[in-house]
C-alpha cells in the first residue's frame, strides 16, 4: 500500500466521521453570482472554479461549524444590474446562510449595496477598487491588493537602482486611472521625477504620437496602467519607434501567458504585475496549484486563487466567530491576520486590504520570473531591457 493510498484512506475516514453531524443539521449554503458568460467570462470562470475547490476542501476538512458547505452560484452575465437582482434573490428567496463576492470591481460595487442592506458579510475577493471599501460599508471585505499599488514593485526597483525619471501613462477608465494615480504618488515618495504623463482612450491602438513625446521626455522608467489589448499594442509600437526606457512595466496584461504568446521576443524584459503566482512560497500554494490542475485540467489564474482564498478566509472568520451571525463574523474578519496560499491578509476598520502584496514579474527568455518583492522572488530583474 502506497503512502498516497494511506492518505486517501485516512481522508475517507475523516470525512465519514465528520459528515454525520453535518447531515443532521443540513448544509450551510453560500450564495454568489459570477460572470460565467459575457465580457468577464474568462476571469469569472476561474473564480467559479476557485469557489468550487474551496467548497470541496472545506467539506473534506469537516465543513464549517460541523455542517457541510454548499455553494449556490448563479450567472450574472457580467452585468452589474443582473448581479444586484441575483443577490436579492439569493438572500430573500433562496435564504442562503452567507454570500461571497462576484467578479470585478464594477459588479462588487453594485451588489455591495444589497449585501449591506441585508447585513450580510461579503468577502469580495476580486474587487480591487479602493472606493468600494471606503464608503462607510460595514460588511464588505477586500482580499486582493488595490489598483494603486499594482506597480509598487516597479517603482521600488527603480528607486533602489537610483533611476531618476519616470513616465506614467494610462487608459482613461476607472481602474487604470486609479492605478496611474497610485503609481505617481509612490514614484514621488521614492524620489523619482515624473517627466511625462498622458492618458489615452479605451480601445486605442495607435500610440505613435504619445510615444514620440515620451521618447523626447527620455524617462528611465515607463509605468503603463493598461488592460490587455493596449499593453500588447504599446509594446509593439515601442519597438517600432525605438523607445527603450531602462524599465517598462504594465499593470494588467503583462502577467498573462498570452502576452508572451502574442509578442514573442517583443515581450522580453517587460515587467507585469500580478496578485498571485503558483510559484510563490506561500503556505499551501503548491498544493493548491497541483490539486487545481488535477481537478480542472488547466492551471489556475490569480482569479482562481483569490476566489479560493476569499472563501477560505470567510470560513476562517466563521470558525473564529463560532457562529454565522454577521456582526460576529465581521468582528472576527476585522481582527483576523493570517497568511493563506494567496498571501497575507489583514484589513483596516473598513475591510480594506492592507497586507496582501502584489508581485512584479519580468519576462525573461519567454518565462515569467517573479522579481519583486525580494522575499518572494525566484529571480533577479535584468537590465537594461
Amino acid at each position: 500500500m502506497t503512502l498516497k493510498m494511506l492518505g486517501a484512506l485516512g481522508l475517507a475516514v475523516t470525512v465519514g466521521l465528520t459528515s454525520l453531524p453535518a447531515a443532521a443539521q443540513g448544509p450551510i449554503r453560500i450564495g454568489a453570482s459570477l460572470s460565467l458568460t459575457g465580457t468577464y467570462a474568462e476571469p469569472g470562470g476561474y473564480q467559479a472554479e476557485g469557489y468550487k475547490l474551496c467548497e470541496r476542501d472545506l467539506n473534506t476538512k469537516g465543513g464549517l461549524l460541523g455542517r457541510k458547505v454548499e455553494m449556490v452560484v448563479y450567472d450574472d452575465q457580467s452585468q452589474p444590474a443582473t448581479g444586484v437582482r441575483l443577490y436579492e434573490k439569493l438572500i430573500t428567496e433562496d435564504k442562503v446562510d452567507a454570500v461571497m463576492g462576484p467578479y470585478s470591481s464594477a459588479i462588487s460595487e453594485a451588489v455591495a449595496n444589497v449585501t449591506e442592506k441585508y447585513k450580510k458579510v461579503m468577502v469580495a475577493p476580486l474587487a480591487a477598487t479602493t472606493s468600494i471599501f471606503k464608503k462607510g460599508r460595514k460588511y464588505a471585505f477586500m482580499v486582493i491588493s488595490p489598483a494603486e499599488v499594482y506597480l509598487e514593485g516597479l517603482v521600488d526597483i527603480a528607486a533602489k537602482r537610483k533611476l531618476k525619471t519616470i513616465a506614467i501613462i494610462n487608459e482613461d477608465t476607472l481602474f487604470p486611472k486609479a492605478s496611474a494615480q497610485g503609481t505617481e504618488e509612490l514614484a514621488k515618495k521614492a524620489g523619482l521625477q515624473v517627466v511625462f504623463k498622458e492618458s489615452y482612450p479605451k480601445g486605442n491602438q495607435d500610440f505613435s504620437g504619445l510615444l514620440i513625446k515620451l521618447k523626447a521626455a527620455n524617462p528611465d522608467v515607463l509605468a503603463a496602467a493598461t488592460y490587455f489589448d493596449d499593453a500588447v499594442a504599446l509594446a509593439r509600437q515601442m519597438k517600432e519607434l525605438d523607445v527603450n526606457p531602462k524599465m517598462t512595466g504594465v499593470t494588467v496584461g503583462g502577467d498573462l501567458p498570452k502576452f508572451q504568446e502574442l509578442l514573442k521576443q517583443t515581450a522580453e524584459g517587460i515587467y507585469g504585475a500580478s496578485q498571485w503566482e503558483g510559484a510563490l512560497p506561500y503556505p499551501g500554494a503548491k498544493e493548491f496549484f497541483d490539486t487545481y490542475v488535477k481537478e480542472f485540467k488547466h492551471e489556475p489564474s490569480y482569479h482562481s486563487a483569490a476566489g479560493y482564498a476569499g472563501c477560505i478566509l470567510y470560513g476562517e472568520g466563521v470558525k473564529k466567530a463560532g457562529t454565522l451571525e454577521a456582526d460576529k463574523v465581521r468582528d472576527a474578519l476585522l481582527a483576523l491576520k493570517t497568511r493563506t496560499m494567496f498571501g497575507d491578509y489583514q484589513v483596516d476598520r473598513d475591510g480594506f486590504q492592507t497586507a496582501h502584496k502584489m508581485v512584479l514579474l519580468q519576462w525573461q527568455e519567454g518565462k515569467r520570473v517573479v522579481v519583486w518583492p525580494d522575499d518572494l522572488a525566484n529571480g533577479k530583474p535584468r537590465f537594461p531591457r
Partner: protein, 292 residues
C-alpha cells in the same frame, strides 16, 4: 509635464501620418467605389477588412506563408465573398432609399463580426513576422508599417490605373456618373455593380491583411475602419476617387499631428471636428463629389 516639440518630433509624426494615411486611402477607396457606383453606404466595409485580416493571419500561421504574399490571396478570397454578398443581398437595395442599404449592410456587419467571434473566439492574434524599425536620418521607420505603406500605395495606384485606363474601369466610372446613360451605352450595369462590390471588398481585404502585420487583430477591429473610411470619403468628396486619396492622407496627418500637439485622447476628436468643418464650409468635400 509637457514636452517641448522639436522639428525632429514633427518629422517623426509626419512620417507616421503618411504611413497611416496610405492605409486609410486604400481602405476608403473601396468604400468610395461602392458609394460612387451604387449609392450604397457599406457599413460592412470594416468587417470585410477584418475578414481579410483573418485570412492573412491564418495563411501565415497555418502554412507559414509570408504575410505580405498572403495579402493577394486574402484579396482574391474577399473578392469572391464580395461577389456573393452583392449577388445574394446587396443588389436588392441598389436604387432603394439610402436607409435600406444602411440597414442591410449594418445587418451584414453584425453577422460577420459575430460569426467570426463564434468561429475564432475574440482572442487577440498577432503576426510577429517583422518587428523593429530602420533608423533613417534620426527618424524611426517601422519596418512593418513601411512595407505595408509600399503595398498600400502600390495597390491604390494600381486601382487608379485600372479605373482610368481599362475598359472595365471606364465602365465602372461611367456607371458611377450616370447609371441610365451607362445602360443606354450598352454597359451591363448589374455586372458592373457585382464587380464593384467584389473589387471594394478586395481593397478592404488588402487593408486588413496589411493591418494584421502591424497591429493585433480581433473580430471587432473593423468597426472603427468603417467610420474612418466614411470620414475619409466625406473629407475628400463622396464618390470622388482621387478625393479618397487626399482624404486618407489628410486624416492620417491630422490624427498624428493632433496626438503630438494635443493628446492621444483629443486626436480622434480633432478628426471629427475637421469633418464637421468640411461639411459646414464645403459640403461636397474638398475635391467635390462624384466627379470621376
Amino acid at each position: 509635464m509637457n514636452v517641448a516639440v522639436t522639428p525632429a518630433m514633427i518629422g517623426q509624426v509626419l512620417v507616421s501620418g503618411v504611413l497611416a494615411g496610405a492605409l486609410y486611402a486604400l481602405v476608403a477607396l473601396g468604400l468610395a467605389l461602392i458609394f460612387g457606383v451604387m449609392r450604397v453606404i457599406n457599413i460592412a466595409h470594416g468587417p470585410l477588412l477584418m475578414l481579410g485580416a483573418y485570412v492573412t493571419y491564418f495563411l501565415y500561421s497555418q502554412t507559414g506563408l509570408n504575410p505580405f504574399l498572403a495579402v493577394p490571396v486574402a484579396m482574391v478570397t474577399l473578392f469572391v465573398v464580395g461577389l456573393l454578398l452583392q449577388r445574394t443581398l446587396v443588389f436588392r437595395v441598389v436604387g432603394a432609399p439610402e436607409l435600406s442599404s444602411l440597414l442591410l449592410t449594418f445587418g451584414i456587419s453584425i453577422a460577420l463580426v459575430n460569426l467570426t467571434q463564434l468561429a475564432f473566439t475574440s482572442n487577440l492574434r498577432t503576426i510577429e513576422y517583422i518587428t523593429g524599425s530602420w533608423i533613417v536620418g534620426g527618424l524611426a521607420l517601422s519596418k512593418a508599417r513601411t512595407i505595408a505603406f509600399v503595398f498600400a500605395a502600390s495597390l491604390t495606384a494600381l486601382a487608379f490605373v485600372f479605373l482610368r485606363s481599362t475598359r472595365l474601369g471606364k465602365a465602372i466610372r461611367a456607371t458611377s456618373q450616370s447609371r441610365e446613360v451607362a445602360m443606354v451605352c450598352g454597359i451591363d450595369v448589374g455586372r458592373i455593380h457585382l464587380l464593384t462590390f467584389g473589387l471594394a471588398s478586395a481593397l478592404a481585404a488588402a487593408g486588413g491583411g496589411l493591418l494584421a502585420v502591424i497591429v493585433a487583430i480581433q473580430p471587432e477591429m473593423g468597426g472603427v475602419w468603417t467610420f474612418k473610411s466614411f470620414l475619409v470619403i466625406v473629407l475628400g468628396g463622396a464618390g470622388n476617387y482621387p478625393g479618397a486619396l487626399l482624404g486618407g492622407m489628410l486624416l492620417g496627418l491630422v490624427e498624428q499631428l493632433a496626438s503630438l500637439f494635443l493628446t492621444t485622447q483629443l486626436s480622434e476628436v480633432v478628426a471629427y471636428v475637421l469633418l464637421v468643418l468640411v461639411l459646414l464650409v464645403r459640403p461636397s468635400g474638398l475635391l467635390g463629389g462624384r466627379q470621376t
